[in-house]
C-alpha cells in the first residue's frame, strides 16, 4: 500500500517517451499547460513590446510595419494558441476524468492526437513568425488579407489545423461526459466545471468547422483567384466577416465558458458554502452557448451590412446579458454568509467578478448600434475585450491553476507571494486597460503605432501599469514553478482547500497513474457543505 501510494502519474512510468506517447489525460493536460504557458509568454512579450512603443507618441522603437506584425501575432497567438486550448486542453484534460470518477477520457488516443495536431498548428504559426510575420490583424479581414504580401497562408493554415485539435477535444469531452460517469453521478450532481466543459465542447464542435472553411476559402482566393470575397469576381467582402464571426463570436464563449466553470468551483470551495442556484448556473452555461450563435453581426456594425440585420443583431446581443447576470448573482449569493477565506484562488475569483463585470457591462455599450458606430475600432473596444479575455478568462485560468496546482503537482506554492502577485495583476490590469476606455471615448483608433499628443498621458499611464501587470504574472508563474523544487512534496492525502468533488476526496495529490485505486463510490454532491464536513488538510 505504501509503495502504491508513492506511485503517481508524474513519476510513473519514467522516461521521455513515456511522456511523448502517453495516453494519460493528466500528462496530456500538463503538456498542453506548458505549451500554452510558453505561448502566453510569447504573446505577453509582444504585448509589452507594443506598450513600450506606445509609451510615447512617435515611432520610438519599431516601424509601422513591425507594429502591424506585432499586434497581429499578439492577437493570433494569445487567442488560438493560448486562450482557446489552455483551459479545456490543460485544466479540462487533467480534471474532467477525475471529476467524473473515470480512469481516462473516452478516447485516450484521440486525445493525444489532438495535442499533436495542436503542435503542428503551432509549428505553422512559428514558421510564419520566422519567415517575416503577418500584418492583417488577427481577424484576417478581406480585402486586405487577400492582397497583403505578408505570410497570410501559413498563418491561416496553422489556424485551420489548430481548429481540428479543438474539435477533437470537444468531441472527446462530450463522449466522456455522457459515457464515463461513475454510477450515481447524475447530471445534476456533476461539478459545474463539467457543465462548463460540456457547453464549451458543444460550441467547439458546432462552430470550429466554420473557421476551417473560412480559412480554406481565404487561401483559395489568394492562391487561385476564386471569387468568394472579392467583388470584382462576384464575391462579397462582408461575407468574409459573416464567416469569420460565425465562428469567432461563439469562440468568445469557448474562451469564457470554461472560465465560468473554474469560478463556479473556486467560489463554493473557498466560501465553504453550497453553490447558490446550481441548476441556474448549469443551464445559463447552455443558454450562453446557444445565444452565442445568434449575435455575430455585432462585430460588423460598420461593415456595410444591412440596417435590418444590425437591428436584429443588436437586439439579440442584449440577451447574452441575462444568463451572464444569472451567473454573477449566483456567485455573489454563494459567498453571502459563507466562510470566505482569502486564499490565492479566491482572490483571483474575486478579481474575476470585478473585472469580468466591467468587461460584460461595456459589452452592452458596444452592443448598441448607435454607440458602437462611434466606438468601433477605438481603444474602447480594445479595453472591453481585454477586460473579458484577460480580466475574465486569464484571471480565472490563473485562479484555477492556483486552485488545482496542489492536486495536479502535489506541491504548494508560497501563498503570500501568490496573494501579492494577484494584487499586482489586479492593479496592473486596471492600470493598463482602464485608461484605454478613456482613450477610446476620446477617439484614439486601435492598431496604430503613433498617435496625437493629446493621448500621450493616458498611453503613458497604460504602458507603465502594463509593466506591473507583466511582472506580476511572470512572478506568479515562477512562484508556481519554484514549488516544484526538491523536498517540497505534500502529503498525498492533502486536500488544502477542503474540496468536495471526487478529485479532492477520492484520489491522492498528485493522482495515481490510473486516477483511482478502486472505482470511487459517490457519497455526497459536489457542494454539499451544508450536509457533510470536509476539513481542509494541509500536511507536508
Amino acid at each position: 500500500m505504501a509503495e502504491n501510494q508513492k506511485q503517481n502519474y508524474l513519476t510513473h512510468p519514467k522516461g521521455i517517451m513515456s511522456w511523448l506517447l502517453t495516453l494519460d489525460h493528466k500528462r496530456i493536460g500538463l503538456m498542453y499547460l506548458f505549451g500554452g504557458i510558453a505561448f502566453f509568454f510569447l504573446g505577453g512579450v509582444l504585448a509589452l513590446g507594443m506598450r513600450l512603443e506606445l509609451a510615447a507618441p512617435g515611432n520610438d522603437f519599431v516601424s509601422n510595419d513591425t507594429y502591424n506584425n506585432m499586434y497581429t501575432l499578439h492577437g493570433a497567438i494569445m487567442i488560438f494558441l493560448f486562450i482557446i486550448p489552455a483551459i479545456p486542453g490543460a485544466l479540462g484534460n487533467i480534471l474532467l476524468p477525475l471529476m467524473l470518477g473515470a480512469k481516462d477520457v473516452a478516447f485516450p488516443r484521440l486525445n493525444l492526437a489532438s495535442f499533436y495536431i495542436y503542435t503542428v498548428g503551432a509549428l505553422f504559426v512559428m514558421y510564419t513568425i520566422i519567415s517575416g510575420g503577418v500584418d492583417t490583424g488577427w481577424t484576417f479581414y478581406t480585402p486586405y488579407s487577400t492582397t497583403s504580401t505578408s505570410n497570410v497562408i501559413p498563418m491561416t493554415m496553422g489556424i485551420f489545423v489548430i481548429g481540428f485539435s479543438s474539435i477533437l477535444t470537444g468531441l472527446n469531452f462530450i463522449a466522456t461526459i455522457h459515457k464515463m460517469r461513475i454510477p450515481g453521478l447524475t447530471w445534476y450532481k456533476l461539478p459545474l466545471f463539467v457543465w462548463a466543459l460540456y457547453g464549451t465542447s458543444l460550441v467547439q464542435i458546432t462552430a470550429t468547422p466554420v473557421i476551417a472553411i473560412t480559412m480554406v476559402l481565404l487561401i483559395l482566393e489568394r492562391l487561385l483567384g476564386i471569387g468568394i470575397f472579392d467583388p470584382a469576381l462576384g464575391g462579397d467582402p462582408v461575407l468574409y466577416q459573416h464567416f469569420f464571426w460565425f465562428y469567432s463570436h461563439p469562440a468568445v464563449y469557448i474562451m469564457i465558458l470554461p472560465a465560468f466553470g473554474i469560478i463556479s468551483e473556486i467560489i463554493p470551495v473557498h466560501s465553504r458554502k453550497k453553490v447558490w442556484g446550481y441548476k441556474f448556473i448549469a443551464f445559463s452555461t447552455l443558454s450562453i452557448a446557444f445565444i452565442g450563435f445568434l449575435v455575430w453581426g455585432h462585430h460588423m456594425f460598420t461593415s456595410g451590412q444591412s440596417v435590418f440585420s444590425q437591428i436584429v443583431f443588436s437586439f439579440i446581443t442584449y440577451f447574452v446579458g441575462i444568463p451572464t447576470g444569472v451567473k454573477i448573482f449566483s456567485w455573489m449569493l454563494t459567498m453571502y454568509k459563507g466562510q470566505v477565506s482569502f486564499t490565492p484562488p479566491m482572490l483571483y475569483a474575486l478579481s474575476f467578478l470585478f473585472l469580468f463585470t466591467i468587461g460584460g457591462l461595456t459589452g452592452i455599450f458596444l452592443g448598441a448600434v448607435a454607440l458602437d458606430i462611434h466606438l468601433h475600432d477605438t481603444y474602447f473596444v480594445v479595453a472591453h475585450f481585454h477586460y473579458v479575455m484577460q480580466g475574465g478568462t486569464i484571471i480565472a485560468f490563473l485562479g484555477g491553476l492556483h486552485h488545482w496546482w496542489p492536486k495536479s503537482m502535489g506541491t504548494m506554492y508560497n501563498q503570500t507571494v501568490a496573494n501579492i502577485c494577484c494584487l499586482g495583476v489586479f492593479l496592473g490590469f486596471n492600470g493598463t486597460f482602464f485608461p484605454q476606455f478613456l482613450l477610446g471615448l476620446r477617439g484614439m483608433p486601435r492598431r496604430y503605432a503613433t498617435y496625437d499628443q493629446q493621448y500621450a498621458e493616458l498611453h503613458n499611464y497604460s504602458s507603465f501599469w502594463s509593466g506591473i501587470l507583466g511582472l506580476s504574472i511572470f512572478i506568479s508563474i515562477m512562484n508556481l514553478l519554484w514549488s516544484l523544487r526538491k523536498n517540497n512534496k505534500l502529503d498525498p492525502g492533502t486536500n488544502p482547500w477542503g474540496g468536495m468533488t471526487l478529485e479532492w476526496t477520492h484520489t491522492t495529490s498528485p493522482p495515481h497513474p490510473h486516477n483511482f485505486e478502486e472505482e470511487p463510490v459517490l457519497e455526497h454532491g459536489p457542494y454539499d457543505y451544508d450536509k457533510v464536513i470536509v476539513e481542509p488538510t494541509f500536511k507536508k
Binding site: T146, P231, V307, R447
Partner: protein, 138 residues
C-alpha cells in the same frame, strides 16, 4: 447503440435504386426552366438524396436517437448561419440604395486589370494611388 442493426441487402439495393432514380430526376428537370425555382428544385432533390444516404447508408434511422439529434442540430446551425446572413444580403438596400451591392469599381487584388475612374474612363497606372498599403481599411 447496444444492438447492431444488420440491414438486408435488399434495402441497400432499393436505396441505391432510389438514388439513381433521383439523379435521373435531377438531370431531367435541368431541361426545364422554372425561373428562380431552379435552385429550389435542384437543392430539394439533393437534400432528399443526402437524407436517404444519412438515414440508410449511415444507419441514422436505426442508431441511438442522440446521433440523429446531433445530425439534425448540425443542419440547424447551418440553417442559422445561412438565414441570418441572408438578413444582411437580402436587405442591404433597405435604407441606402447605394449600398445594395458591393462597390465593384476596383479591388486592389486585380492590379492587372486596367484602372478606371468613377465614370469608367481609363486612368494612368502611375498617377493613381490605389495600392492597399494602408494599415486599416475601415
Amino acid at each position: 447503440m447496444s444492438e447492431h442493426h444488420i440491414t438486408p441487402l435488399k434495402t441497400y439495393l432499393a436505396v441505391a435504386g432510389t438514388l439513381f432514380f433521383l439523379t435521373v430526376v435531377t438531370v431531367w428537370v435541368s431541361y426545364f426552366d422554372f425561373g428562380s425555382f431552379n435552385i429550389v428544385i435542384a437543392m430539394g432533390v439533393a437534400t432528399l438524396k443526402a437524407s436517404i444516404v444519412a438515414l440508410f447508408f449511415m444507419h441514422l434511422l436505426w442508431d441511438d436517437k442522440k446521433n440523429l439529434t446531433m445530425f439534425v442540430m448540425s443542419l440547424m446551425f447551418l440553417g442559422i448561419f445561412i438565414t441570418v446572413t441572408l438578413l444582411d444580403t437580402g436587405f442591404r438596400g433597405g435604407v441606402n440604395s447605394e449600398v445594395e451591392s458591393p462597390i465593384n469599381n476596383r479591388a486592389a487584388f486585380y492590379d492587372s486589370l486596367p484602372l478606371t475612374d468613377t465614370h469608367g474612363h481609363p486612368v494612368d497606372e502611375h498617377s493613381a494611388d490605389h495600392h492597399g498599403e494602408g494599415e486599416d481599411h475601415h
